[in-house]
Amino acid sequence: MALVELIDVHFRYAGSEEYALRGVSLEAEEGEFVLLVGPSGCGKSTLLRVLNGLIPHFYEGDFRGVARVAGLDVPKTPPHVLARHVGMVFQDPENQLFLSSVEREIAFGLENMGLPRSEIRRRVREVLELFGLEELKDRAPYELSGGQQQKVAIASVMALEPRVLAMDEPTANLDPISALEILSLVSRLTREKGVLAIVVEHRLELALRFATRMVVMDGGRIVASGDPRRVVLEASRLVGFPPVVVAHQLLRNRGLIGGAPPLTPEALSEEILGVIGWRR
C-alpha cells in the first residue's frame, strides 16, 4: 500500500459555499520529493492539512472520499496519532516555536507523546546532530535567523520520526540562500531517511531542482502530475515558465540544443558548454 493514498477527496470548510478540494486523488511513496504548486486558493494548503488530520479533525466541514496515510484512515485517527507519521511545517517559523531553547523545542513533541525522559534525551541528541544544531541548542529560537528558525521547526517535527514531511511554503519568509539550504536539507531527508516530502512552494527556480515529482493543482483539483521536466511545460499557464526553461526552449527552437528542459541554470550551462565543445 502507498504511504499516502488519497482517493476522490472532497472537502468544504464549514461556512463556505465552495469546495476547497473537489475529487483529489494522489498516491505517493517513501523517498519522493513531491513539489505541489498552483495559484493561491487552489487547495494546496487544504490538501496538506488532510494529510496530518487537521482536516477533518481541527477544521470542521464536509469531508468525503478516502484518505489513508501510513495505513491509517485519516478521518478515524486523532491528529496526535497522525503527528507521529506526518510532520507538518508551516510558513512562518515564529508561530511554530514556543519554548525558550532549541533543545526544549525539539523535545516538546516527544514530551507530548508521553515518552520516558531517557528516550526523549536520546532522540533530541540524534536530531541535534542530524540537523547540525548542537551549537545552537541552548539558544532561544526567537533569537535565531529565519533560516535557522525554519531548520529548528523542521527538526522539531522530525524528532517524532514521521515518514511523511508536509511543508506549507516553508521558505516564503526566507532569503534565497537560506531557502535553498532548507530545500536541500529536505531533499537529503528524502534520500537518506526515505522520508516522503510533500512541499508547497511558489519559488520554482529554487525548488524545481530537488523535486522528483511535480503536482499542479487548480480549482481544488490536481491538473498535472509527474516528471517535473514534463509537468513544468504542461502547466506553464498556471505556474509560469522559470527563466531556465524559457532559455532552453529558445535554444531548442533554433535547433541548437535538444532534450527535456534542465531544472537549474547550472544544468543548462553544462549542456551549452557541452554543445560548444568546451572541456574543463
Partner: protein, 260 residues
C-alpha cells in the same frame, strides 16, 4: 510601553542567580515582597532595595532593571505627589516610604523575571501540580509578547504611511485613531493564534494529560541554601518588625524628618 515590559523580559545569562532552581528564586521573591509589604519605614526599605540591587548585580541585570525603572518613574512620581498632598501628618516620610515600597516590590519581581526563563517557571509549576495546558499557556503568553509588540509596530507604521497621525488631536480623535489600530491588531492576533493552534496540533499537544518533562528540576545545594536563607531572613524580619525596638527605630527616623 516597551521599556515597562522590559522589566519582565528574560535574558539568558550564565550567572549563579540564573542557575538557581525557579523554586529557590520564588522563595527569594516571597522574602523580598513580604519584607517590602510589612516593613513600614524608609531605612529598612532602603536596606531591602540595596539587597535586591546586589542580587541584580550578581545576575548582571542591573542595567535592564535601571532602564525599566525609568519607565516606571511616572508612577513613582504620582505615588509621591498624591500621598504628599493628601496625607494629614508625616507627609514627606510616608510618601517617600510608600514610593520606595513600590520600587522594592517591582524590583523583587524584576529579580525573579529577569533571571527565570518562562518555561523553566512553567516546568516548576507543572512539577507542583499545575496541568500542562496551563503551564504551556503561561509560557506562550510571555513568549509572544515581543511578537505582539512587533505586530503593533507594523500596523501603526502602515497607518502612519497612509497619513493617520496617531499621537495628534484631542482625546476623542485619539480614541477613534486607536480603534483604527486595534481592529486590525485583533484580527492579526486571532489569525496568529489559529496558526499557533495548528502547529500545536501538529506536534501532538494535548494528547496526554500527564507527561514526563524533558527538563528535570532538581534542587541542588545552592537551591536549598537560598531557600533556607530566605526563610530565615523572612522569619527574622517578621520577628523584628513587631518589637518595641522597631517602633523606636521608626520614631527616630520621624524625628529626623520633623515637621516635613
Amino acid at each position: 510601553m516597551s521599556s515597562v515590559l522590559d522589566v519582565f523580559r528574560f535574558r539568558r545569562k550564565n550567572t549563579p542567580l540564573h542557575r538557581l532552581d525557579p523554586r529557590a528564586k520564588f522563595a527569594i521573591l516571597v522574602l523580598f515582597s513580604a519584607a517590602s509589604l510589612i516593613l513600614n519605614d524608609l531605612a529598612s526599605l532602603l536596606l531591602v532595595l540595596v539587597a535586591e540591587v546586589a542580587l541584580l548585580a550578581v545576575a548582571r541585570s542591573a542595567g535592564e532593571w535601571l532602564r525599566s525603572l525609568k519607565g516606571l518613574s511616572m508612577l513613582v512620581a504620582m505615588i509621591l505627589a498624591l500621598n504628599y498632598l493628601t496625607l494629614p501628618s508625616n507627609r514627606l516620610f510616608t510618601a517617600l516610604t510608600l514610593a520606595l515600597r513600590f520600587i522594592c516590590l517591582t524590583t523583587a519581581f524584576s529579580v525573579f523575571f529577569l533571571t527565570t526563563a518562562a518555561d523553566e517557571l512553567a516546568t516548576a509549576l507543572e512539577a507542583s501540580g499545575l496541568p500542562r495546558e496551563y503551564s504551556i499557556m503561561f509560557t506562550m503568553s510571555l513568549r509572544f509578547v515581543p511578537s505582539l509588540a512587533r505586530d503593533l509596530q507594523t500596523i501603526s507604521d502602515a497607518l502612519r504611511c497612509r497619513g493617520l497621525e496617531l499621537e495628534k488631536g484631542g482625546l476623542r480623535t485619539r480614541i477613534r485613531n486607536y480603534t483604527y489600530l486595534l481592529v486590525p491588531l485583533i484580527v492579526y492576533e486571532l489569525r496568529r493564534s489559529l496558526m499557533i493552534a495548528e502547529a500545536l496540533e501538529a506536534r501532538g499537544f494535548g494528547a496526554l494529560k500527564r507527561v514526563e518533562p524533558y527538563v528535570e528540576l532538581r534542587l541542588g545545594r545552592a537551591d536549598y541554601a537560598a531557600i533556607a536563607t530566605s526563610c530565615a531572613l523572612l522569619a527574622l524580619t517578621v520577628a523584628l518588625r513587631f518589637t518595641s525596638l522597631y517602633e523606636a527605630f521608626v520614631r527616630l527616623q520621624l524625628s529626623i524628618f520633623g515637621e516635613l
